[in-house]
């Protein structure tokens, strides 16, 4: 039996107590620090080795995964379960990466993420071509020193994509990488403060991206949201799974033509799911010839 908390992995919560729209999965603390600071994220005690930071008001949550695809995948799952993240949330893997060419410090959106080890490829994210350049990324198991292919090299994105794409739609999964090392500038020069600077120097672009990502998450949240009066009625009257789907579909149609009306008090006159469904069907069908359905 899954724990109560893990059940959230398989079902959408009826009432989202906290709405997190943006979830960050970041490998290193140095990469996370600028994000934690700018969004005033507060540490949440998890009693695990994962560090989670969040700001409920701004709708941001962040987990520091550690290095590697497996840790990234595990952290993504843990954050989803621990904070009961909705399927409308955007997931962002931000970090540093090697690249085959200069300049150091340039930020890219990875729109093709591959792992030669796993022989699989992901194509994550809505592309923000007006804000950021796109490129391909190879997730590797050891730090890359040869940069043979014209791609970014990291160690987490593949694991992140594998898991995050099961939680939200593919268009809300983002991989943003900042070039930290190239054939001309080796990994050895990277210190915590250099990494922090690399992220800090790109905060303006990151903010522009977030503004667009927020809009997409809200579109998805609105599409997936279940009105409170629907869940309230389902709490008062027993609906089988089939009847619940039918009821929710009918409700959308009913609400379109009855935007001023509510279902409040309906449970007093309609005692069963069938009665509710029949009521909605009849109400929708009445006067259909005089309504405008454009």
């Amino acid at each position: 039996m899954p724990s109560r908390r893990l059940k959230f992995l398989t079902m959408e919560s009826k009432k989202n107590s906290h709405v997190y729209l943006i979830c960050w999965v970041v490998a290193l603390r140095a990469e996370a620090t600028p994000i934690i600071k700018i969004f005033n994220l507060q540490k949440i005690q998890t009693q695990t080795s994962f560090s989670i930071y969040a700001n409920q008001e701004l709708g941001h949550a962040l987990i520091i995964s550690g290095v590697g695809a497996i840790k990234s995948a595990a952290a993504t799952s843990f954050l989803k379960a621990y904070l009961n993240i909705g399927s409308f949330a955007a997931w962002i893997n931000l970090g540093i990466a090697g690249y085959h060419k200069e300049p150091i410090g340039k930020i890219y959106q990875a729109i093709k993420v591959s792992s030669q080890e796993h022989c699989r490829t992901f194509f994550p994210g809505f592309r923000f071509s007006k804000i950021i350049e796109h490129t391909s990324l190879l997730s590797v198991t050891k730090a890359e020193l040869e940069y043979k292919k014209p791609a970014l090299y990291d160690m987490e994105a593949f694991g992140f994509c594998e898991v995050a794409s099961a939680f939200s739609c593919n268009e809300l999964i983002f991989v943003f990488k900042i070039v930290s090392d190239t054939p001309k500038s080796s990994l050895e020069n990277l210190t915590k403060s250099v990494i922090e600077d690399l992220v800090n120097n790109n905060l303006s672009t990151i903010n522009q991206l977030l503004s667009e990502i927020n809009k997409l998450s809200i579109i998805e949240m609105e599409r997936l949201s279940i009105p409170q009066e629907v869940t309230e009625l389902e709490d008062l009257i027993h609906f089988s799974r089939t009847n619940s789907i039918k009821f929710r579909n009918l409700y959308k149609k009913w609400k379109y033509v009855n935007s001023e009306k509510t279902l409040k008090g309906l449970h007093l006159s309609k005692k069963t799911a069938k009665e509710v469904i029949k009521f909605l069907e009849e109400d929708i069908s009445s006067n259909k010839n005089t309504r405008d359905y454009l």
Binding site: I111, E220, K252, Y256, I284, S285, Y293
Partner: protein, 330 residues
């Protein structure tokens, strides 16, 4: 403008790819193995993707020419369709492609020669029958033509096969390549049309009805055969006046001899497709209508169907002979 072109690595030699490169000089080109790895990803969001679709250049290996679904054709005894492209530049609320595909990205199959080879074989195989070929079932035939250049190739091919007909179905006004050349008698440029109030509301990103009629008139005046496609017919409060006005507008600008055919059909979806599309459009009136289900097909139901069909037939008969009017049932 398309910002990203994903391409199968073995398509680069095709002439169509050079054309795409010229048409999209600023696009980012990303190699892929096969188009399905991107096009068929699970958990895609069609609505979000539609805000900025990418182009995928691929090679088609099979199913170049297929028989049309029953009830789709017109007077020919054998009817076939082919799809050199999946998905459409436009974003019509009722479009079945959003239920058919999980991706809004455009797939362009660049091995045009292989399509023509298979069409040739089909023509030869059915040489004792009258034949019609339909383009524009899984895409708009002309809307992407400035990039793909497909229609030029297509018309050159069918010019060599005057005994079979081909229909290019479109909502596009990209007709310059057609107007530059001599028309061919066996090619029908078929426009999908709705009353302008309905089109303004539902045919997102598509040219207005006035511009479509204008494009149609120019093609007709230069000798092209025109098809009128009133499909899907959309039910709304004032539909009779709206459709009567639309048919009047068209027929007052396009002369009867230029009209090859008119076909009409009610808004209808396979049940599964309707479910999928309606979840994409929570706030759409079109999907708020109390539809009927019959044999796994969702439509307005018999009463509205009969009413709309008899009205449309009457209106069309005011201008056109019976032989040019066809009723699409599928």
């Amino acid at each position: 403008m398309i910002d990203t072109v994903y391409f199968e690595e073995d398509v680069l030699e095709y002439p169509a790819v050079s054309r795409v490169k010229k048409a999209l000089p600023k696009a980012n080109w990303v190699p892929i193995e096969r188009f399905q790895e991107l096009f068929n990803i699970r958990n895609q969001n069609f609505r979000i993707q539609k805000k900025n679709p990418a182009l995928i250049l691929a090679k088609k290996y099979e199913n170049f020419v297929l028989p049309v679904p029953s009830g789709f054709g017109m007077s020919s005894s054998k009817n076939f369709y082919f799809s050199h492209m999946y998905n459409c530049l436009y974003d019509c609320n009722y479009c079945f492609l959003q239920g058919l595909y999980s991706s809004a990205n455009f797939v362009l199959f660049v091995n045009y020669e292989d399509f023509f080879e298979h069409i040739s074989q089909t023509i030869e195989k059915n040489k004792n029958d009258t034949q019609m070929f339909f383009s524009g079932y899984d895409c708009d035939s002309l809307a992407f033509d400035k990039v793909s250049g497909f229609s030029d190739n297509l018309i050159q091919f069918f010019e060599q096969h005057p005994n079979v007909e081909v229909e290019l179905r479109t909502k596009s006004i990209v007709t310059s390549s057609l107007l530059r050349r001599n028309p061919i008698k066996n090619c029908i440029i078929a426009f999908s049309l709705s009353p302008h109030i309905i089109a303004n509301k539902l045919d997102n990103k598509a040219p207005s009805i006035a511009r479509r009629i204008d494009a149609m008139k120019k093609l007709a005046d230069s000798g092209w055969q025109i098809g009128l496609r009133l499909d899907p017919l959309i039910y709304t409060k004032d539909w009779k006046n709206q459709y009567a006005e639309l048919i009047f507008d068209i027929m007052s600008q396009v002369k009867v001899p230029s009209v090859h055919s008119v076909s009409y059909g009610l808004l209808r979806f396979p049940k599964k497709m309707y479910k999928k599309i309606s979840t994409l459009h929570n706030d759409s009136g079109l999907f708020a209508f109390p539809m009927h289900e019959n044999n796994e097909v969702i439509s307005y139901g018999k009463e509205i169907e009969n009413d709309m069909y008899s009205f449309i037939q009457r209106e069309l008969h005011k201008y056109l002979p019976e032989t040019k009017i066809f009723h699409c049932t599928n």
